[in-house]
């Protein structure tokens, strides 16, 4: 565990590397809301248009990881770890066909 706002488990890093082989450079955006909300979404770099108020939390396996500005305000007291679990994620996240789903785990930290 690091003090960075976002880090990734070895399993998540391995999946990112495999997805990069298939799809090229990647990016992440943290979702909110229902269904698959609160799940991290993985896209080919540039697929999702980053807005002026999105916040770059850091990088995972060289892929930038963003979160919406309003959501960041409500999450900033927690430190995120990108993990991966077996599953059948929805949304347009790249890993779903592999039978796995990225997942966010969290720890409390002092707000930066």
């Amino acid at each position: 565990m690091t003090d960075a706002p976002i880090s990734a488990t070895p399993a998540a890093l391995a999946l990112i590397a495999a997805l990069r082989q298939q799809h090229g450079p990647l990016m992440f955006h943290q979702s909110g809301g229902c269904c698959d909300g609160s799940a991290p979404m993985c896209y080919p770099a540039g697929e999702f248009k980053i807005g002026a108020r999105d916040v770059l939390l850091g990088t995972v396996g060289d892929a930038p990881f963003y979160i919406g500005g309003d959501q960041y305000q409500r999450w900033r007291h927690t430190r995120l770890t990108l993990d991966v679990v077996p599953g059948r994620g929805s949304g347009f996240s790249l890993e779903a066909p592999e039978g796995v789903r990225f997942l966010i785990r969290s720890d409390v930290c002092a707000a930066p």
Partner: protein, 506 residues
């Protein structure tokens, strides 16, 4: 009573081992010949394979839809309504079969699919059959000789992306207004719950003309994206979450087409002190309203997952509410006495457990539940979570994000203004609940909460003819009401002069 599991003796449902796409009124193999395994959340075991489609399949479906749109769009409203009513009738005739399938595919208790999902879906087709018969354009007499006619036309071919929490009901919410308004549809079900809609398609195939409804299964990135991005759809409807909602708006901006979005919430459920004034039916109703967080395993966009309780009654109320929650019966979803079943997928289960973890780390107190449940009788690998009550405060993440599990976070409020401030301290505004014996408090609270629907002294009712849709980041559009027709219609203005004389300008 316990319904037999599908494909066992006495079962209401027998699945085929493999399902193709439904395109042009027929079941069609996916072009790339790939399929994915579809597990039941009840047991965690695969029960069928479903087409893993790609952009080529979306193209085939769009071809079929475009081939059908001219004729369907010009079919008289009376005839379209008749066919929607026939769909309702055939669903009613197969209610148990579809209900069992929905339970098996999604994990929800059969009690809910029999009493809610199916009856509501059936009624939805009847409601929009009625709406389109009564729908009419407007006209204005601009002056003695000039009349402006507003005629409604279908959009043409629309794309619909369906969530997994109420698979058939959410499909009905989107299909019924689109078809009533004369559109053809390409629909992509959620990859977690692709099965029941295919049973529905079989039933509907003898009623609807080929190509009017086309169903393409597969993953979001492989099948959903080419649908949402296609220049051949005139509108996209989506229910899901905010990042995908934004992405769909971005795709729509490439084609300059409208979208309707329902992106969830974090619905507050407000309990004012007077609910405990008497030990009567209404007190029991309010406690039931609290326990509604467990309905559909909490997998509802309007799950009342933030209970805000007047501090004057906090201790007593929570004691009663905890006792009520502990009486919720968890078990085999096919047993009619089961009140809470399985979460829809393994990743959903993992996400809920991750939220329970951060709730504890943030210092929230687990009042009851807070863990995965391993049931017996072959259900040990199913995705079950105990109904969970957290106590904490509204800034905690478990108060700010839709966990989409049977987890309620409880905090107290001090007076009306604090109640409203906490209720509105959220990024979302889809649903809310207000419980009070005082009509003045009820009305003021209802008007001051920034949410599309405020259930007042009730919760989790989803009748047709009451609008459903969000404020703030919860989305765009209002479903389950005739005004949804407008989202599937184009307006044609005929501006007609009945004056034979020239204007005299040139």
């Amino acid at each position: 009573m316990r319904y037999a599991r599908p494909n066992t003796p006495g079962a209401k449902v027998s699945y085929e081992s493999r399902y193709d796409n439904f395109i042009g009124g027929e079941f069609v193999r996916p072009v790339q010949g790939r399929y994915f395994e579809n597990p039941s959340p009840v047991t965690g075991q695969t029960f069928c394979e479903v087409a893993r489609s790609s952009a080529e399949d979306i193209d085939l479906a769009l071809n079929a839809a475009h081939g059908a749109k001219e004729k369907w769009g010009k079919t008289p409203a009376a005839e379209r309504a008749r066919l929607l009513n026939k769909i309702a009738d055939v669903m009613e005739a197969h209610l148990e079969e579809l209900a069992v399938s929905e339970t098996w595919d999604n994990g929800k208790p059969i009690r809910e699919t029999l009493a809610a999902d199916l009856p509501l879906a059936i009624d939805h087709f009847r409601y929009f059959a009625g709406c389109i018969r009564a729908d009419e354009g407007t006209l204005a007499e601009l002056d003695e000789h000039t009349v402006s006619y507003h005629l409604k036309e279908p959009l043409g071919v629309v794309g619909q992306i369906i969530p997994w929490n109420f698979p058939l009901l959410m499909a009905a919410w989107k299909l019924a207004p689109a078809l009533a308004a004369g559109n053809c549809v390409v629909l992509k079900p959620a990859e977690q719950t692709p099965a029941t809609i295919l049973l529905w398609a079989k039933l509907a195939s003898s009623i609807l003309p080929p190509g009017v409804v086309n169903i393409v299964n597969g993953f979001g990135i492989e099948a959903g994206k080419p649908l949402a991005q296609s220049p051949r759809v005139a509108k996209v409807a989506f229910t899901g979450e905010t990042t995908t909602g934004r992405l769909i708006m971005q795709y729509a901006s490439e084609n300059i087409i409208p979208v309707t979005l329902e992106l969830g919430g974090k619905s507050p459920n407000l309990f004012f002190a007077d609910i405990l004034d008497h030990d009567d039916d209404f007190r029991q109703k309010a406690l039931e309203g609290f326990a509604m967080f467990a309905l559909n395993q909490g997998e509802v966009c309007t799950c009342p997952s933030r209970a805000l309780v007047d501090k004057k009654i906090y201790g007593t109320f929570l004691e009663l509410a905890t006792e009520r929650t502990r009486r919720i019966v968890q078990g085999d979803p096919l047993d009619t006495t089961t009140m809470i079943g399985a979460q829809a997928s393994n990743d959903q289960l993992e996400k809920i457990l991750a939220y329970i973890d951060i709730g504890k780390k943030e210092g929230a107190r687990v009042r009851t539940g807070g863990e995965r449940v391993r049931l017996g009788d072959g259900l040990g690998d199913g995705y079950y979570v105990a109904p969970t009550i957290f106590e904490g405060h509204n800034k905690m993440r478990i108060f700010q994000e839709e966990i989409f599990g049977p987890v309620v976070s409880v905090a107290s409020f001090d007076g009306f203004d604090d109640a409203i401030a906490q209720a509105n301290d959220t990024l979302y505004g889809l649903g809310a609940g207000v419980w009070t014996r005082d009509v003045h408090t009820a009305f003021r609270a209802g008007r001051n909460i920034a949410a599309g629907r405020v259930w007042t002294n009730c919760y989790h009712l989803y009748p047709a003819h009451a609008t459903f849709g969000g404020y703030k980041q919860s989305g765009i559009g209002r479903e389950t009401h005739r005004m949804m027709l407008n989202h599937y219609q184009q307006t044609k203005n005929l501006l007609v002069s009945y004056d034979p004389k020239p204007m005299g300008f040139f």
